[in-house]
């Protein structure tokens, strides 16, 4: 008769758990690879079809461009520069306007949102004006700014600011209003002054609302800057698009569009990293666990 000691059993169970875990990890890796592979495949098929259709004149490359044409345009901008100077300068100018407008609009929106969110009277008085201002189509303001502030940077920054301000303001205001009342009462009883409550309860609890708006509004800031340049400028990606449009250069329009998209994606990535850093106290959402 052979007896199986409990320690043997435990050891056997431990090895089987390790094996199962390794298997599960391998499955996860495989799935991840599959997702990436499919994404790449779709991109290749899409670009391939576009190129083929353009080659066989199923769509007219003069109007709808083609991947190879766009790439040639980007490459020539990189190596030979654009008609308005080096490509990097155009990117730099647009980014500078975007960031300035984004920063001013976001800070203004956050401050205004917190002040009005904390003060019922101010909120009741100003809400009507904010609604009115918000309903003005903001892109139209671009023309006003160009008349008032000229062709330089200021008019683009101003347009980016108004694009960003209202989005951030609305979210900050809402976030302040949603702050948990029990939590505020708790801080008050623990001994917090009104300023301490704002700093250590109101702002952190509005933070996820504010960060959500920063995601969206960076795109708005970029639109503001580009539209501003489009309406009248001496430098920038918007001018590049409007020049290409004037010359019926579809390749140029698409190429500029792609460069803008890459810029937006890079910044979006940085904002996401920043967000994860700021709200590391938050539980990971279920759909992000395990990837």
């Amino acid at each position: 008769m052979t007896a199986i000691s409990p320690t043997d059993q435990a050891a056997a169970r431990a090895t089987s758990i390790v094996a199962a875990e390794a298997q599960a990890r391998a499955r996860l890796r495989k799935r991840h690879a599959l997702v990436i592979g499919l994404r790449l495949a779709i991109l290749v098929v899409f670009l391939g079809l576009w190129e083929l259709c353009a080659d066989y004149n199923i769509i007219d490359p003069f109007f709808f461009s083609s991947p190879s044409g766009i790439w040639e345009q980007i490459w020539s901008w990189i190596t030979e520069g654009t008609s308005q100077g080096p490509l990097w300068l155009q990117i730099y100018v647009t980014l500078e306007e975007t960031f300035l407008g984004f920063a001013i609009g976001a800070v203004g929106g956050i401050v205004a949102g917190i002040i009005l969110g904390r003060n019922k009277l101010l909120a009741d008085v100003f809400s009507i004006y904010i609604k009115i201002a918000n309903s003005v189509p903001r892109v139209v303001l671009g023309s006003v700014f160009i008349i008032a502030l000229g062709l330089g940077m200021a008019s683009k920054v101003a347009l980016a600011v108004v694009m960003v301000f209202f989005v951030v303001f609305a979210n900050a205001f809402q976030g302040v209003r949603e702050a948990d009342r029990a939590m505020i009462a708790n801080a008050q009883i623990l001994g917090a002054s009104p300023f301490q409550i704002t700093r250590s309860v109101i702002i952190p609890s509005a933070m996820s609302w504010i960060l959500a708006s920063l995601h969206v509004s960076f795109g708005f800031a970029l639109v503001g800057a580009v539209v501003g340049e489009f309406l009248g400028a001496k430098q920038g990606m918007g001018l590049l698009i409007s020049t290409a449009q004037g010359a019926f250069n579809a390749n140029g329009v698409f190429a500029a569009m792609i460069i803008l998209a890459v810029m937006a994606l890079v910044v979006e990535f940085i904002i996401t990293r920043f967000e994860n850093y700021v709200v590391k106290w938050r539980p990971a959402p279920f759909n992000e666990q395990g990837t």
């Binding site: 939590m183 708790n186 009883i189 623990l190 106290w281 938050r282």
Partner: protein, 284 residues
């Protein structure tokens, strides 16, 4: 006399003495509802808590228990009557008060350590001292291994321990608790009740503990206030003459405890039924 043999001695409410820790004297509080009507939350309410006394308040939902606590904190003001804490009229949020909430009121973006240190930091204690104190209190509630955790990483019972440490670190002379353990499971609740009595016996603060669980009230209290269905007023007051220290897991089977709970339940039952039938009418 009958009240001599019975552990639950019914007291007659009297005007509060001047040196009481908490004195609510003939208070009525009306809310103005959003549509402009007046709504009486509590009326002709008189209650006294002596220094170092543990008072429990039971009553049907909506009878004004939370309102009563908020009168003591100063977050609400009485329409008529007056409220005194440690002999002084309530004008502002007093530094002597600690409050444990029913829902989680921990700050989710702060670790356990930062949560517990919040009180002293708000009150201007130097950082180093505040954190030393916080570590000490975290140790007392048995959370030392979790001081770096965020609230969402803790179980419900652990969060309540952290909340107790957060409140007790200010060493409040007055401790107010609004159904603090009602969301916990039975075993955790019993453990937390023991923890609370332990902390309280070290601090000797005066407590008002609101609950809708009569057995919890009898097990913890020196004195139980039974409120009427809303608008709430004090229906009767019972003195609970059970020896301390009490052990929560055993006291439930104590014949004296059972007898007291029965007597008070007879009193409370009518109000609960009344409260429920009103609630049903209101929803029709």
């Amino acid at each position: 006399m009958q009240s001599q043999t019975m552990a639950a001695e019914k007291l007659s409410p009297a005007a509060p003495p001047a040196d009481a820790a908490i004195a609510i004297d003939d208070v009525t509080l009306r809310f103005v509802t959003p549509d402009g009507h007046m709504m009486t939350a509590i009326r002709d309410f008189t209650m006294t808590v002596a220094r170092g006394e543990f008072a429990c308040v039971v009553g049907p939902t909506g009878c004004g228990k939370s309102t009563t606590l908020n009168l003591v904190t100063g977050l609400l003001r009485p329409t008529t009557g007056n409220v005194r804490v440690m002999g002084n009229p309530v004008t502002d949020i007093s530094r002597d008060i600690g409050f444990v909430f029913q829902a989680d009121a921990l700050f989710p973006w702060r670790s356990v350590l930062d949560n517990v240190a919040a009180g002293p930091l708000f009150r201007g204690t130097p950082k180093k001292e505040a954190y030393e104190k916080a570590r000490d209190w975290i140790g007392r509630v048995g959370l030392s291994r979790f001081e770096k955790h965020y609230p969402h990483q803790l179980s419900g019972g652990m969060r309540k321990r952290a909340a107790l440490a957060q409140t007790f670190i200010n060493q409040p002379k007055i401790l107010l608790m609004d159904e603090p353990f009602s969301a916990l499971d039975m075993q955790t609740r019993t453990a937390m009740q023991d923890e609370l009595l332990d902390l309280w016996s070290g601090l000797k603060s005066s407590v008002v503990f609101v609950t809708h669980d009569l057995e919890e009230a009898v097990a913890l209290a020196d004195k139980v206030y039974v409120l009427t269905a809303g608008p709430g007023t004090v229906k009767s007051v019972y003195h609970i003459d059970l020896p301390r220290p009490r052990v929560m897991s055993d006291i439930r089977y104590d014949p004296k405890f059972i007898e007291i709970a029965k007597v008070i339940w007879n009193d409370l039952r009518e109000e609960v039924q009344l409260g429920q039938s009103r609630g049903l009418q209101a929803s029709h």
